[in-house]
Symmetry: D2
Subunit: 388 residues, 4 copies
């Protein structure tokens, strides 16, 4: 049986990065429902993220999205974060909201557009230098909507060339994380639709290029934990973008649609060294809280990852390995389910109390008055949102 | 073998309704790429729709969307359409772009919101009276994003009550067409997710409530032509919203993702009386042309339906029935494929020439100078789009 | 908060029916891996089923499959069951393993084949009279593999006619339960592919025709609990065939692939009167244990349904309704998740002890010596399997 | 515009390999419907395959499946084939129908089972030496049914080790083709579920290890032609297993479910050198004709690939490239659709006549008397089937 003290220590050292855009308004193509108190600046997003960390104790990093979080002085922004007890994390690029990118960015047929897109990515590395961020995360909206619209292989060649230019520019401690996504906004092909494509491109770039698994970006029926296990085996898992979905990508709170899947993913992480500090797996949220209150939704999401991690750490791996060796299917499955069926919330409440935190982060947030304060104070200006 | 003259006559009498919103800007949640020359008013949308009819000869009806096409005087708008050779068609309601509708419209927990939504639907019937439209098409964005968010059965009760209030108001020659959609913008449940739910609600409303099949609104693997056949058997197929998709709903041009599926659907329509005038099946497009030129895309879409219809009409139904009776799987399939593999474009070119049309509608449109004219003239003002 | 005594009482009265074929050999089209000790007769299947009931206390009914469980004297078989503490349950027909059924059974183009198939179904009702079974469950393998192979609507007409003949024959307390399945063994259409088709056919037959939801028979992304809620609202949910799957139908142990989905389904059952005795919902397993030990797998499956039921009964419905009324998405979801995240195993162990059962049914089975006994005794003869 | 003479020359040189098992009985897990006249020996399968080649002119190779086609003297079998105008092709291994393989073959936890499986694969290479076959095609049924059943990474390690042992044994002109499959018969994980896994394993083995794309083995919504294009770009496309499906894998005739997809796949083949002799892409059928007549179904399938190839060769690639360069989405798509919508059957009839073949292969087969002859002569003995 796992040692509870070791489990607690592992949980105490867990770090989950929250996305600056999760604090702003978002919506579907049909409607964005604005919420009161939503941040208007990068600083206000950091203020909110700091609250999430204050109450959960495991969310000290905040991912930036450029240009949504563009500021004049990134070092000052980093200092601002530090004052609030958090730090700037992964830099996310945006090569999909400019009119030039109608037919793609780094894969665009026109070299001028590709240069512009690569230029933006290089700017992001400059920002990383200023913020001390380790990771550049690329999600590319590149792709085509109709068969014949462009040449699949030519686009792949352009992708390789563009990524190589960015990879060259990275510092020794910086990484390029390449996300994949089956579809949307491109509806016939995306240029990086699956882990295989991302892996293939990363292999050719070099060691500091790694794959990001966004849990919402797969075809129906895909076994995500299998991919996670394979990438860990290859040393190519750069990180996660956590969220969940019932149908296609829709950025619901991680663990809300299929908590058992989240557990299985984290079970593979735990069993293959993915929680070791030197493995450098980035655990990030990438979500949109369209109709639910944003800060409590982020807190709930962080807790969902934490609870699933606790369960994964509680798997009796010796018993599991023994049952596997014996070909005892039911016992092996039962060992796993035993951990999953455990209610880990008392353990986590205990852990929080030991760390001087309120055992109930959501209640603590609601009691803190922060929500009332931001609703009252954040009046006027333009609320942050995907386009803001 | 089908009689070619009869096939031509059937094709000549075909009517495909185009959607006013297909002429305006549209996009994904990530970005709307604006196009030059896009209409700014309901009248300009009718101007564009008239061009589609001018060159195809089978698209005389234009579906309205309220409030996107709100005008002061609908009778005047109908007259405006008539002058341009087209007529106003189905009225589409919108109960998803108002802040009140965050948790639904006709299924909302709050009776005040439901009253507002029903009020809008009743207003749409008033507009139908003014425009002479036969059909009110309801696509409801109602649903929930998270398990537990609302009560599924209570929402269904509210749906039934709201629809009954609208049904009551219909004139004797008017219909309520209820669309279904698996997901989006609701991501856990929609309140009318499948044909079964729509059928069940329509059955209870009465004869003038019928089901709309949007070809993009199904779970992966759904056999759409089976549904079409069943609804025709029950006298409950009100119409189609045509479009296509490779993944989830994405409103590509009908016939562009799976032309064989479109053929199979129209084969069921042809074989079950769906092209008979008295069956009253409305053949509508419901598409968004995010990155392709809008008017030529609508022309191409109309032609795709026309070509698939021609193939469906060419099926040798006697030979098919004979092979089916004999259990000759390969021959039965071959009879169907023989029609599908036929190149019907020469037949359609001939038909167009007989009708005094240019045999190549897309080329004719490009040669007409209309695109250059609207790009030059439609400057200033606010372009039409989903939110406009 | 739910009253624990009431929850326990509800759990104590729960009844889960196990399928006779789950005790026999099964496999995929590639291979059947035979297991030692597998029953060779209907009686031996009842012996095994009796063990499942002995250790779980909630599985007193055994579903029969005709002709796999054909015996000369069904009254004697019922008496045999009774002696072992169980009773005969639902009768399942088989119209798919005879050469005549190559192109269907009750939907076959040839009236002779349809008569044969209907004759078998009528024989099943005779058996029900002898066994005292309430329900005839029809899963039809009818369908087509290729477009054009047969006429969809004609097949639906034949289906309606065949079912009507069977419905006529039912006694006043007997029901016809019509299962639906998206695909397999028919690969282009099945004749009852979805709940809508089953509902439509059942509506026309009458009150004693009801829909069976097999949890493995849906398109990817289908919200099964929505269907369950709707059918309960209509009084048309006849029962469940429980199993689970990661991809297409594959009959894994219920709750093993998506335990949260199972919980959500049972939450709708609990919230809409589905556990009330007078609702008459049949809770059945329909599984195949291809590579795992069969009896312990059935025990585990019964426990999985029991655990999910316990969680569903623990939902604080007052708190849920309050949060729903207030549009508090996060709280409503949290109320549901709170029940789901509860470890109900201690409660169930307690309940079993109160009932004089071993708190750990799987361990009790292994300690009982039954497995060793059947492996030793059931030598020679032909093992039961799908074709046996 | 493509030169018709060149298109004809390319079509005349096309080679499609038919599978020996496609001539035998097959079925679903529910039932195998036996057909009269089905072969009883490897030789009789070759006789049937020779008929397919006789009437199509492009199917001179026959894939073997070991042990289904085990004979004492493979050189004699090769000579037998040659006498009938065909030759032995790819050798397919079988590591899934032995009781030892319940938990896998080359990935099995027990080294003894792995040794047995590798031994079988080495035997297959011996057979290749005798038959002169170039390719060993591995489809592995390895995987797990339940989470926890075995260790994903350990299985991947065993897979790599087993494959390396086989790769070592290959002659310089022999290849190892590794197929992938999302699911079935393993229902939780397969050990080679997607192209990425196959690619990763093949990369490490060396140049003569390549990926096989079975068109039926993907998750819903997967863009297969994208994978084909990528593998061609990498020089890693070993070949195709053609078939089609509407839902999960079900081995329908290629081109029968989505002929447009087949065209798009072959368009990528044509555009990326995949038809060049030196690219060595193996074009194989892998199908089961459960309810349709087997030999005509194989002929029809060969013709479906041929027709789709003809369309792909007719794409005006200059016009396509020009439209792509200009970002003219509609024209680019129209160029592709123009080729797809062409009825290529007259061209193929012409080609066959030029080659001295009957222009209608199916009719020619039916007129040949072969079917009557085999039905009359092949009486007694055991029919070939998956297990025979």
């Amino acid at each position: 049986m796992p040692d509870i003290a070791a489990v607690k220590a592992a949980l105490a050292s867990q770090r989950i990065e929250t996305p600056s855009w999760g604090y702003g308004n978002s919506g579907t193509r049909f409607k964005v429902f604005a919420q009161a108190g939503v941040p208007r600046t990068a600083q206000e997003k950091l203020d909110d993220a700091a609250k999430v960390h204050e109450f959960t104790g495991i969310a000290p990093k905040v991912a930036l999205h450029i240009p949504w979080d563009t500021v004049d002085d990134y070092a000052a922004l980093a200092a601002y974060a530090k004052e609030r007890g958090v730090e700037l994390g992964t830099v996310n690029s945006n090569t999909f909201q400019d009119d030039d990118y109608k037919f793609g960015s780094v894969c665009h047929p026109d070299p001028k557009v590709r240069r512009k897109a690569v230029g933006h990515l290089l700017d992001c590395v400059d920002i990383m230098d200023a913020t001390g961020s380790r990771d550049l995360k690329l999600w590319l909206a590149d792709g085509t909507n109709y068969p014949g619209q462009d040449d699949i292989v030519a686009r792949q060649d352009r992708l390789a060339e563009s990524l190589a230019a960015v990879y060259e520019r990275l510092g020794d401690d910086q990484r390029l994380l390449l996300e994949y996504k089956l579809f949307e906004p491109a509806f016939y092909t995306t240029d990086v639709p699956d882990w295989g494509t991302s892996y293939m491109q990363c292999m050719k770039l070099g060691e500091r290029a790694q794959v990001v698994v966004d849990t919402g970006h797969h075809a129906p029926g895909t076994n995500i934990e299998f991919i996670v296990a394979l990438l860990l085996r290859e040393g190519k898992l750069g990180g996660f973008d956590f969220n969940s979905r019932f149908y296609a990508d829709d950025d619901l709170m991680v663990g809300s649609a299929d908590p058992f899947q989240l557990f299985r993913i984290l079970h593979e992480v735990a069993g293959n060294g993915g929680f070791d500090a030197e493995t450098n797996v980035a655990f990030m949220l990438d979500q949109c809280h369209n109709i639910e209150a944003k800060i409590p939704a982020v807190i709930r999401s962080v807790m969902n990852v934490q609870e699933a991690t606790a369960k994964a750490l509680l798997v009796d791996r010796d018993a599991l390995a023994a049952a596997q060796r014996e070909g005892d299917v039911l016992t092996a499955n039962a060992v796993l389910m035993d951990a999953y069926n455990t209610d880990v919330r008392p353990l986590l409440r205990e852990l929080r109390e030991e760390q001087g935190l309120n055992p109930d982060p959501v209640a603590a947030y609601h009691a803190s008055g922060w929500q009332e304060r931001i609703v009252a104070e954040r009046v006027g200006g333009e609320q942050a949102g995907w386009g803001a």
